[in-house]
């Protein structure tokens, strides 16, 4: 499988259209979508599903006696109207109409407004997601030591600070931790150590003496707990930081 395909965000798109991703994940998807026609097409298909989902709600019918009472009231009012010899004023007609039909009309109106608002709200959210983000995002490549791992480095627009987000990394023995390496030329500086939760997820604010954008690349290795002065263990994620 090519690296380009590996980097698709197709698996995140269902949660993206449901608007339940974290801000970091949402940014990652939005940035990818801006340049990927494959994921855009998949998003459009999933959005159609999301647009149809409100229709899956089953309408609840009111108890039979409610309908009976309503029909009896309407019938009795119609009889009164027919038997009356007096001309009926417009105001009286309007009052009758409102009294008999207002609850049903009101209910229908509320249902239509709720559905309409729901659909509009989803469209608005999608439009917001699709706006380009000023944050820089770098998707890291996994290695044979961690073929399922996912990693993203999110950098501020000035390239000074960054946060690493990883998922699907294996939990390590208590004596081991993951360590981030910031690589510039032949130098490798530690960017921090971290451990993942039982789901393999972690986030880490990168510690660096230089603005992050000045480094050439980033790597993550398995090191003794607390970190090493230089990389010694297996590399699990890596990525270039284009200047």
């Amino acid at each position: 499988m090519s690296e380009e395909v590996d980097n698709h965000v197709i698996d995140m798109l269902p949660a993206f259209v449901l608007d339940i991703l974290s801000d970091d994940e949402t940014n990652q998807v939005a940035v990818h979508l801006a340049e990927c026609s494959t994921c855009q097409a998949e998003l459009a298909r999933l959005q159609q599903v999301a647009d149809e989902l409100p229709l899956a709600l089953v309408q609840t019918m009111p108890p039979t006696r409610v309908k009976d009472n309503l029909m009896r009231a309407i019938h009795s009012r119609q009889l009164k109207t027919i038997s009356s010899s007096r001309p009926i004023s417009l105001a009286h007609r309007l009052e009758g109409l409102l009294r008999t039909r207002l609850p049903a009309l009101g209910l229908a109106l509320i249902v239509v407004m709720v559905l309409g608002n729901l659909l509009l709200w989803r469209q608005l959210n999608l439009a917001n997601h699709q706006m380009s983000t000023p944050m820089r995002l770098y998707v890291l490549a996994n290695t044979q030591n961690s073929p399922e791992a996912l990693g993203t480095l999110i950098m501020d627009p000035n390239g000074k600070y960054g946060t690493l987000v990883v998922d699907n990394l294996a939990m390590l023995d208590p004596g081991k931790q993951y360590q981030v390496w910031l690589i510039r030329g032949a130098k490798r500086n530690s960017g921090g150590v971290f451990s993942v939760n039982p789901d393999g997820y972690a986030s880490l604010e990168i510690q660096a003496s230089l603005p992050l954008a000045q480094y050439d690349s980033v790597g993550i290795t398995i090191e003794p707990a607390g970190g090493s002065p230089g990389p010694t263990g297996a590399k699990v994620l890596t990525g270039e930081l284009p200047h």
Binding site: D11, P14, A15, V17, L18, D19, I20, L21, S22, R45, L46, Q48, V49, A50, E52, L53, L55, A56, L57, V58, P198, D199, G200, Y201
Partner: protein, 74 residues
Amino acid sequence: MEWEVDLVQRQQRIRAAVAQLPAEQKQALGMAFFQGLSHPEIAAALGEPLGTVKTRIRLGMQKLRTLLQDEQVT
């Protein structure tokens, strides 16, 4: 009344598709879409691992997409 017929058909189509989902996918999707809960909130409410909840929602949406797409083709 054409739009009413269309609406009824769409309701039937999406309900039939949702009915084909496994119960746990249906439950997770409902909590996400209709209650607006996030992945971690759903995981906490169900007492399930976060990854499991993510997978259920992803598979559920992808299956709905496939079912609705197949229906349009046939």
